[in-house]
């Protein structure tokens, strides 16, 4: 009882343990940031310090942005993620609504297909999808980066689960008002399912911003590369052992998602771990 009123030794131990494990977790981020601020002489020097003696940040970040088309990579990532997300919602929300609220022949079979789709690891599909992209003559375009992900079984599943929690009365009332089904989806259901939309958006954008496997297969031109592929190319071709600009580039690639995470932590945790409970 009285333990609550002063700082208990176990509370101090708890903070000490969590601060040390947290520090260890952050070491790669801190090291990356630290190297991105240093001139080559200090990076390869024997002495060790977190902050540079001579600040070299401007030079490193400038080189990262000019000797590799880093902004282009990030713009590509943005374009691809936005297109994938928009198409996924456009395809999955109506399907989720039909599976949740309409009675029709074949519904159970379709839902079973969605569940099987959930289980398939996407990398297994890469070879036939590569051949399909080749046949359609869209390899090495934005379309190649986008088309495999236009439909998301997880998206359909998530929308269905959320729409099921919305009372049928809402749907009946909208029908009595004369709304066609498609308008019910977009004007009633999706706005009511905003938490599901946000969680799914975070899941989708984080997965595709970070994806290396499929872009590696789908595109060759530097102008089309999303950030992970771009930074790998930058390391292989330009920077080599020139760590300052390379770490600056890595920092810039990681930064948007980390900032978004800091701003909306709860949503990120929900969106990203909800995907595991599929």
């Amino acid at each position: 009882m009285s333990a609550r009123h002063f700082v208990h030794p176990t509370a101090i131990l708890r903070h000490a343990a969590l601060l040390s494990s947290g520090t260890l977790i952050l070491v790669p981020f801190v090291w990356m940031l630290s190297l991105s601020l240093k001139p080559p002489g200090e990076i390869f020097g024997a002495s060790f310090s977190l902050l540079p003696h001579h600040w070299y940040a401007v030079e490193n970040y400038q080189r990262a942005l000019t000797s590799a088309p880093l902004l282009r990579y990030m713009a590509n990532g943005l374009i691809v993620c936005a297109a994938i997300l928009a198409l996924q919602i456009a395809v999955c929300a109506p399907a989720g609504y039909a599976l949740a609220k309409l009675r029709f022949k074949g519904r159970d079979v379709i839902f079973a297909l969605v569940l099987i789709g959930l289980l398939l690891p996407h990398q297994v599909l890469s070879l036939p999808l590569f051949i399909l992209g080749y046949q359609l003559n869209i390899l090495n375009t934005y379309a190649a980066l986008i088309f495999p992900y236009v439909v998301s079984p997880f998206g359909i599943f998530l929308f269905r689960q959320f729409f099921k929690t919305i009372p049928d009365d809402v749907v009946h009332a909208a029908r009595l008002d004369g709304l066609p089904e498609i308008s019910i989806v977009w004007r009633i259901m999706v706005p009511m399912a905003l938490p599901a939309v946000i969680a799914f958006s975070i899941f989708s954008v984080v997965s595709h911003w970070n994806d290396l496997f499929w872009p590696l297969i789908a595109v060759r031109s530097e102008e089309l590369m999303p950030p992970p592929l771009g930074i790998m190319a930058f390391r292989n071709e330009e920077a080599g052992n020139d760590y300052g600009p390379l770490m600056a580039a890595a920092t810039l690639v990681v930064l948007p998602l980390v900032l978004a995470f800091v701003a909306a932590q709860r949503w990120f945790v929900e969106g990203l771990t909800g995907g595991a409970v599929k």
Binding site: T10, A11, R14, H15, L18, G22, I25, V27, P28, F29, W31, L35, F48, C92, P94, A95, A98, L99, L102, I110, G117, L119, L120, P121, Q123, V124, L125, L127, P128, I131, L132, P148, V151, P153, I156, E181, I182, N210, L212, F213, L216, P227, P228, R235, Y243, L246, M247, A249, A250, T251, V253, V254, L257, F261, Q265, F268, V269, L272, T273, A276
Partner: protein, 299 residues
């Protein structure tokens, strides 16, 4: 009259449903189910990407895959990698979750810090890890050297490369298992602790042993399988840091799949590797479904 209206309503509903679900079904078939079927078919042929002809050769690709020392090394490496990453990630995640839940202050802060690696772009972070592990200027060797401990060329040494990649895997997934355990801890009913209290289990360790850990059993099984699935899909760190080397020391299944299919263009062989990979993942996922079923009965 009423019957007919009901029937036409039914028809309208079916029609509306198919309009709404049709595009998704068509895309699922074209982008998921035809490709899965195609992988199995290609694995049974001698087809090479770009060739005009193909022959069915039965299971010859699978025989070749399993007699290939490279593939066997890859399979063995993947298993070792998973066997390091899963216990490491699960235990570390559980420990951090228990520590966070054992007090009230700074919970969100600690959760956030441990979760960051899970969402940070792994390709970029792999490059940061490479700098950390650099044989001469890396922080790891500098620290070990300063402490008088032996150093290593971590990513170029056959003995260390796989454990080091697994350590990065644990670093990346720890926050994920922590969040799942935090959710599991929240769902333990408070009155169980009260009951344990009455039974004389009043120390933190007693409560942990008699209530917390037994109640976390089903969640733990779930975390083990989900983390194992993620570990089987390891690719980015291998591609960026080692290309499977030195020798075959860090080659894992997805990297083999990628290299055979898209760099060497050995299409039939690559498809056979994909089938093996799919079977492993499916067995794991189905056991997850069983675990989830058991959990429902359990509660």
């Amino acid at each position: 009259m009423k019957n007919r209206r009901l029937r036409s309503n039914r028809l309208m509903e079916t029609l509306a449903a198919w309009v709404l679900v049709g595009p998704a079904v068509a895309l699922l078939v074209v982008l998921f189910f035809v490709p899965v079927g195609a992988v199995f078919l290609i694995a049974l042929t001698d087809w090479q990407f770009g060739a005009r002809t193909l022959n069915f050769i039965g299971l010859a690709n699978f025989r070749e895959v399993f007699s290939d020392p490279g593939f066997r090394a890859s399979l063995a490496n993947t298993v070792i990698y998973v066997l390091i990453v899963v216990p490491g990630t699960v235990l570390a995640g559980l420990l951090v979750a228990l520590l966070i839940e054992s007090g009230k202050s700074l919970r969100t802060f600690y959760r956030a810090i441990h979760f960051v690696p899970f969402m940070a772009t792994l390709t970029a972070m792999a490059i940061a890890w490479e700098a950390l592990l650099h044989p001469t200027i890396g922080l790891v060797n500098q620290t070990l050297g300063a402490l008088g401990l032996p150093t290593a060329n971590w990513l170029r040494d056959e003995a260390t490369v796989l454990p080091v990649l697994a350590a990065i895997g644990i670093w990346q997934n720890l926050g994920f298992s922590m969040v799942l355990f935090l959710a599991g801890l929240k769902s333990i009913p408070r009155d169980l602790y009260d009951a344990a209290d009455i039974d004389g289990a009043d120390s933190w360790l007693d409560r942990l042993r008699t209530v917390t850990l037994p109640m976390l059993g089903p969640v733990t099984m779930f975390v083990v399988i989900v983390v194992a699935l993620r570990a089987f899909e390891a690719f980015d760190t291998v591609k960026v840091l080692t290309q499977g080397g030195p020798g075959h020391a860090s080659e894992v299944l997805l990297f083999t799949l990628y290299r055979e299919s898209f760099e060497y263009l050995r299409t039939g062989y690559g498809a056979a590797v994909a089938v093996v990979f799919l079977v492993i993942v499916m067995v794991l996922t189905l056991s997850q479904a069983r675990v989830m079923d058991n959990r429902v009965h359990y509660q």
